[in-house]
């Protein structure tokens, strides 16, 4: 038996939590077709919420207040707009205000190419508000790591998952090369595309470092993160969310402040994601990343 996929890892962690930790998993249509991309185990502790976004999130936060460490599943991140208020206004604030925490693990599932309200990546919004830990694991071991962190702490955690990662069995390692022209920082599903971009650019003689970003908030500047940038002097952050006021720009700014190096950001264009191919406004893929890098190098940034 080979390495587990991300989906299998989520299912395994969830089963253990529900059966051994008295945990709960709450969400809409959890046990419907596919059991959320085969990430939900068939065991005790499953709460099927009615189709009541907002109230559903409030109920989940309520279970957190009494120590059930709920996993709250948002099948499409766009629905966080409705579900966000109890998370943002209560769960994230209660520890700072009252010293009473509401540890809730939000499985916020992103996708791409599914139209205006099923393709969103909204982790940037949650980076904006105080009180959350925000992360975006794309590999089995990363998922195990963030789960351990959640269980060790008492803060609400926004886990920005992506459907594109569910079949992944591989760990994604940073790539560092000598005399790199640029350092790429990739988030969420763009990490898979960034790997392809690095290889395509290498063939064209452009040397790239690639740094994987798992933790979006707090975004701790570590040597691992900035050393490659200090050497290449040029950076590009790639995120599948909207570029304006988004994660990519925020992190690019942090990296720029920390190193003084020029760091650019790319994400979604400032237009709605549509269902039909010419208007999909997909997350930056390898081709877009390559084009952006070449443009930056031509400009001599």
């Amino acid at each position: 038996m080979g390495q587990k996929t991300v989906a299998e890892t989520i299912k395994e962690i969830t089963r253990k939590h529900l059966t051994e930790n008295n945990g709960l998993i709450l969400g809409e249509c959890l046990t419907a077709v596919g059991w959320v991309n085969n990430t939900v185990p068939d065991c005790k502790g499953i709460v099927e919420l009615p189709m009541t976004d907002v109230a559903g999130a409030g109920i989940a936060v309520g279970t957190a207040l009494v120590g059930r460490r709920p996993i709250f599943v948002i099948r499409f991140q766009d629905f966080l707009i409705l579900n966000g208020s109890p998370l943002i206004f209560f769960a994230a604030k209660t520890k700072e205000l009252h010293g009473k925490s509401a540890p809730i693990f939000v499985r916020a599932i992103a996708s791409d190419g599914l139209g205006p309200v099923h393709s969103g990546v909204l982790h940037s919004i949650f980076m904006h508000f105080p009180g959350f830990i925000v992360c975006s694991p794309m590999t089995p071991n990363e998922y195990r790591e963030i789960w351990k962190t959640y269980m060790k702490n008492d803060d609400p955690m926004i886990c920005s998952e992506h459907r594109f990662s569910y079949h992944n069995t591989e760990e994604l390692c940073d790539i560092t090369v000598e005399n790199a022209h640029i350092t790429l920082y990739a988030i969420s599903c763009t990490r898979f595309e960034a790997v392809k971009a690095v290889e395509a650019l290498r063939i064209e003689g452009i040397r790239c470092n690639l740094v994987n970003i798992l933790w979006l908030k707090p975004f701790n500047i570590t040597r691992r993160l900035i050393q490659p940038l200090k050497e290449s002097k040029l950076g590009l952050v790639v995120d599948p969310g909207h570029e304006i006021a988004g994660a990519a720009r925020s992190i690019a700014f942090e990296l720029n402040l920390a190193t003084g190096c020029s760091v650019r950001a790319i994400g979604l264009e400032d237009r709605t994601k549509c269902l039909c191919p010419p208007h999909k406004n997909m997350a930056p893929n390898a081709e877009v990343i390559c084009k952006t890098v070449k443009k930056m190098l031509r400009k001599g940034e």
Binding site: L49, G58, G62, A64, F89, L97, H98
Partner: protein, 320 residues
């Protein structure tokens, strides 16, 4: 056409509201005589504690010791007083007008004062202020909301789901209109959760009356969801009796007509309230032969609260 419909709906609602929104609606007569003296005096004591504590708040706001908007429970004291006796073992999910809930259920007045003054010795180390008071001591487990009215209702329902402990959710007639409130009430029915929903119906969302805002009754909505539900005025003995009955058939809903004495936020007044329940309770106690005891209680609480809010002491506390 739409405008026309809206006026008709408003008229219907206004007529219903006028009929029901009176000081003795649903009040069980002579109930005060059926409860023992201790209970009646305890109800009065808790009401006085709220009223005179808030008198201190009002004066402190006027003197600028408290320099932000406060949400006062004055006028609505009977609800917290009665519920705190009926629902002693319940987890509490209070609304923004929560000083009364905190004090009646056993919160320490000194800690609440300190919270309102922004001191580290307050209930939330001075970070919460007036409208999201919590209490987690002396066997009291009280949560609140942070400003989204009715937010505490799904939270309370979730807490009941997660712990199977009984929960009381307080909210106002405005919060009753939030979609997530009745979605949460419906969830409580589906899962047969031990939650009592209490609507403190002061008829006002800031200053907009219920009849202007909606043509339907939250009590009828609760009934249609499948839970026992009733409208009553804020006579404390009637509230106590109703809560004692309903807590054995949860989830359940009680809409209580009451009168806010002060502004929605702040210490001003818009004129006399429709009725003053504290004065009515005082009279009722006299009627049942408890005037001496009640006078003694009232005097004692006035003295305690004057001491608590003594201006020299406040100056000293704020200088620290």
């Amino acid at each position: 056409m739409l405008k026309c419909f809206s006026i008709i709906a408003g008229e219907r609602s206004e007529s219903r509201d006028n009929k029901m929104r009176v000081k003795d609606f649903g009040v069980i007569s002579s109930l005060s005589e059926k409860y023992d003296k201790e209970t009646s005096l305890q109800l009065f004591k808790r009401m006085c504690t709220i009223r005179y504590f808030e008198q201190g708040v009002i004066e402190s706001v006027q003197a600028k010791y408290i320099d932000y908007l406060v949400y006062l429970s004055s006028g609505q004291e009977a609800i917290a007083a009665a519920m705190s006796i009926a629902l002693q073992e319940f987890m509490i999910f209070a609304q923004h007008r929560c000083h009364g809930t905190y004090l009646a259920f056993g919160g320490n007045p000194e800690k609440l004062r300190d919270e309102l003054l922004g001191l580290s010795t307050g209930t939330s180390r001075g970070r919460a202020g007036s409208n999201c008071i919590q209490c987690h001591e002396n066997d009291v487990m009280m949560f609140g909301h942070h400003g989204l009215i009715g937010e505490n209702v799904p939270l309370g329902v979730g807490a009941a789901l997660g712990s199977n402990r009984p929960v009381v959710c307080f909210f106002g007639d405005g919060a009753a209109e939030e979609d997530y409130v009745f979605a949460a009430m419906g969830f409580a029915v589906t899962h047969k959760l031990p939650v009592i929903f209490v609507c403190e119906d002061n008829n006002l969302s800031i200053l907009t009356k219920v009849a202007v805002r909606r043509s339907w009754s939250i009590t009828e909505v609760a009934k249609s969801l499948g839970m026992p539900a009733v409208d009553i005025a804020d006579d404390p003995w009637t509230i106590l009796k109703t809560a004692e009955q309903f807590k054995n058939m949860l989830p359940a809903f009680i809409n209580i007509y009451t009168c806010r004495a002060n502004w929605h936020a702040g210490v001003g007044v818009d004129g006399p309230p429709e009725w003053d329940r504290l004065g009515m309770v005082r009279k009722e106690l006299k009627k049942i032969g408890l005037s001496k005891q009640s006078e003694k209680i009232e005097k004692k609480i006035i003295a305690e609260m004057e001491k608590l809010w003594d201006k020299k002491q406040l100056q000293k506390l704020l200088r620290k």
